[in-house]
Symmetry: C2
Subunit: 238 residues, 2 copies
């Protein structure tokens, strides 16, 4: 008898966290699609996005590709882990340039993930978006970053409401990690205490739990990931 | 003896609220600059923005024009009242298109207003940005609008922090009106109860009070404007 294959889509599947997710879900024999600027060779399918294309052009391209890939199947989950970091106060020369980059990297990807989910996520499926703990308050030294993340937090709340366009009983949450244990972070903060960083595999496993219905948070939650002595606590910010 | 002329800049000075502000401040003999797509003939100076230009190009153009206009003078206040409205759930065809428009109309203008203020606002000056009450919660039927306004709310909090780039003792607040009593709203909601709408002159006068130091809210406040029986209450949301 044919078993039903679980299908997950990773937006940002070539990044540090995205790659960890692709590897983790392939290890579970799921069908894994990756959306990114470059292909992840481990994924079953890759959708490549042109960074110079407009927001609507990226949306049209990605939705068109997924339409073809899915051919009537539904996704069990969409995990958007795309994003980046750039600083800048209102007085910084790069303030607007960096705000523009943060918006494109985080909010374009998150909102296109929402559009994908509205069309292709199954009932009761999971959508996670990339939030950030600092954006719960003011972020004077990284204003563009804070605005983009605050927009994502509000997007999560919108998608959790009735008539948001999401499928019935879907779960939309943001993850708000403090510091992820990525190779880049190890390189640039080599003196830091790594036992306070959240391992990427922990996040992938958490996503899988939520898909399976284990410890599923309330719809619309902003879930803080706080790691201490290599133990990660997952708690709702609001 | 020469009196010091007060200088205010209205971002969106050709819109309904912006025009009311230009008229009000000209009535007080202030120097009034307007930034918009079209000139406001009552303003002392107009900076015209090309809607097709990128975020950074608009910033460069506006900051360059202001540099010339100010020639060393400082602004008493920057009132950003630009923005618009468009709906769309995650399932709407126009979701991303409208989110893009909302971002450009509200967040580009607000962040450029912040950049202007960092450079040209005097110590103790006022910057107001256009917030929205519904964006304090989820906004499932107008997701792009909610994201843009949530970003502005967070921007206000960032600008109120130390080291945001704003001048000393400056006040940054967002106004969160329910419904403004504009000609457009009267046209499209002609059956509504206008005594629950906030008059534009009330907002202009409120701005002037804050400039003068009267009933000045805490820095970083989101100020709700709620009108009932033609009386408007102004209270901080957080």
């Amino acid at each position: 008898m044919a078993t039903t294959v679980k299908r997950v889509l990773i937006y940002g599947g070539k990044g540090a966290l995205g790659s960890a997710c692709v590897t983790y879900f392939k290890g579970k024999q799921y069908w894994v699609g990756s959306i990114d600027l470059a292909p992840n060779e481990m994924a079953d399918a890759n959708i490549l996005v042109k960074p110079d294309a407009s927001w609507t052009d990226q949306e049209t391209h990605v939705l068109g590709e997924i339409e073809t890939l899915m051919s009537g199947n539904k996704l069990d989950a969409v995990f958007c882990v795309a994003g980046g970091w750039a600083g800048g106060s209102a007085a910084a020369k790069a303030f607007i340039k960096n705000a523009d980059m943060m918006w494109k990297q985080s909010v374009w990807t998150s909102s296109i993930s929402a559009a994908i989910s509205a069309k292709h996520l199954k009932e009761g499926g999971v959508l996670t978006l990339p939030g950030a703990m600092p954006a719960l308050e003011g972020t004077p030294g990284m204003i563009g970053y804070g605005m983009a993340k605050a927009a994502i937090h509000q997007l999560v709340k919108s998608l959790a409401c009735d008539k948001s366009g999401m499928p019935a009983n879907a779960l939309t949450v943001a993850i708000l990690p403090m510091t992820l244990d990525t190779p880049m972070n190890r390189k640039f903060m080599s003196e830091a205490d790594f036992t306070t960083w959240t391992p990427l595999e922990f996040v992938a496993e958490l996503f899988n739990k939520w898909m399976d219905g284990t410890d599923r948070p309330a719809n619309g939650s902003l879930m803080k990931l706080v790691t201490k002595d290599s133990i990660t606590d997952v708690t709702a910010a609001c």
